[in-house]
Point group: C2
Amino acid sequence: MTDPRPVGIFDSGVGGLTVVRQVLDLSPKENIVYFGDTARVPYGTKSKETVTRFSVENVEFLMKHNVKMVVVACNTASSLSLSFLKRCFRVPIIGVIEPGAKAAIRSTRNGKIGVIGTSATISSGAYEKIVKKLRPRASLTSRSCPLFVPLVEEGWIDSKVTEEVAAIYLEPLKKKRIDTLILGCTHYPMLKAVLQKVLGKSVLLIDSSEEVAREMRDVLDAGGLLNTSTGRKDCKFFVSDEPGRFVKMAERFLKKRIECVKKAG
Amino acid sequence: MTDPRPVGIFDSGVGGLTVVRQVLDLSPKENIVYFGDTARVPYGTKSKETVTRFSVENVEFLMKHNVKMVVVACNTASSLSLSFLKRCFRVPIIGVIEPGAKAAIRSTRNGKIGVIGTSATISSGAYEKIVKKLRPRASLTSRSCPLFVPLVEEGWIDSKVTEEVAAIYLEPLKKKRIDTLILGCTHYPMLKAVLQKVLGKSVLLIDSSEEVAREMRDVLDAGGLLNTSTGRKDCKFFVSDEPGRFVKMAERFLKKRIECVKKAG
């Protein structure tokens, strides 16, 4: 049994490429179709209704490419729209929230977990819900960090300003003595060094992109959907805005150059 | 002669309310229809093709409300799309670039002007073109400041971080000894105090929203389009995302509360 159909992955923009990177590492035999909604990015400041409408359109686009599964590689869309997407489409669909929450629960020693994300992700309470369900006695402290995405996109990865902003945002989490922090936005792994510096080495950072890539592989495996065929693998990238800016930023997120990015539609 | 039809004003989001505020001050008899494209905000990181497509749709929406004139209250859309919009629609359409540039040329003493804006506005070269045309011997130094909009939206108007970011962005403009700075984004007037502090009192800040409100009045006057009728004036606000976040931020930009904001479409 082998299923050569591609896996579909979407994000509001370029951040989901951190997930693609992990999928390429962990499931090198899978074909991939990626969609980045760069014309309407970001999602993190927008309403549930709007993000869900956009997400449905994104999955519809991926379905046209005959994907066997969809990974919502965007924390905001996963928080606000995953359950709706699951009801709308027949292929397996997973998001980044549950894999990240599970990993945090496995890792924490003192039961004090932190999560950072966009305004929409944090105010949705999606992480609270799943953590409460899986480990009712764990405590979760959350904080939205709206400046982190623009700081990453500006390329100020290790600037003094970014460290100061991180110190302000993370202060309440430090006070709660969290020992585990979920990076609840696909841009945040780019800030690992500065976050670790501000929090100290004892706090474990959970990168959801690693976790979701593992979950993806497990779902494919369980459903008999793995691609076991050899031969050249295909990784297609589509965006809704002109590809220029995406291509320029992609290398930082994917750690390799992207040759061919097409404008969708 | 009186023309009671409303004036149409659009922006990518909430920033254009700084223009509405000036229009209310200067032309209190005019009815207004405002559209903020909050589902697709921001425009400043997006391509000319995409911003122009969005702008055409925004003007089409305003035209349905029978507007007699359109003000593009967004520097990015004015930079990238104004000439196209003028060719597409019959009503007078003005943007914020030319009024701001004219005011800077009138004001500068040493001929050294600075302009700050989004990435798209600055890389479009729109301010350079107009300044070169109107005053070939003036020198213009430009700088994109992608973090200013998120800092304003985060409400960090007078934080130390914002001052440090401003110091970094404005350094090349200080070195050039500009005596006039065009605030080339409708969010930036919110940062006047910190910009003035970083640049020193001798540098004049040009707020395009004041200038474009004056230009709007002149265009209406010249075309016999002024509304001279008395009676209650109407100011309607529409947005493309759910109104919640817009309403919350609107007060800061408009300096008064908005009661009724509708989702368009």
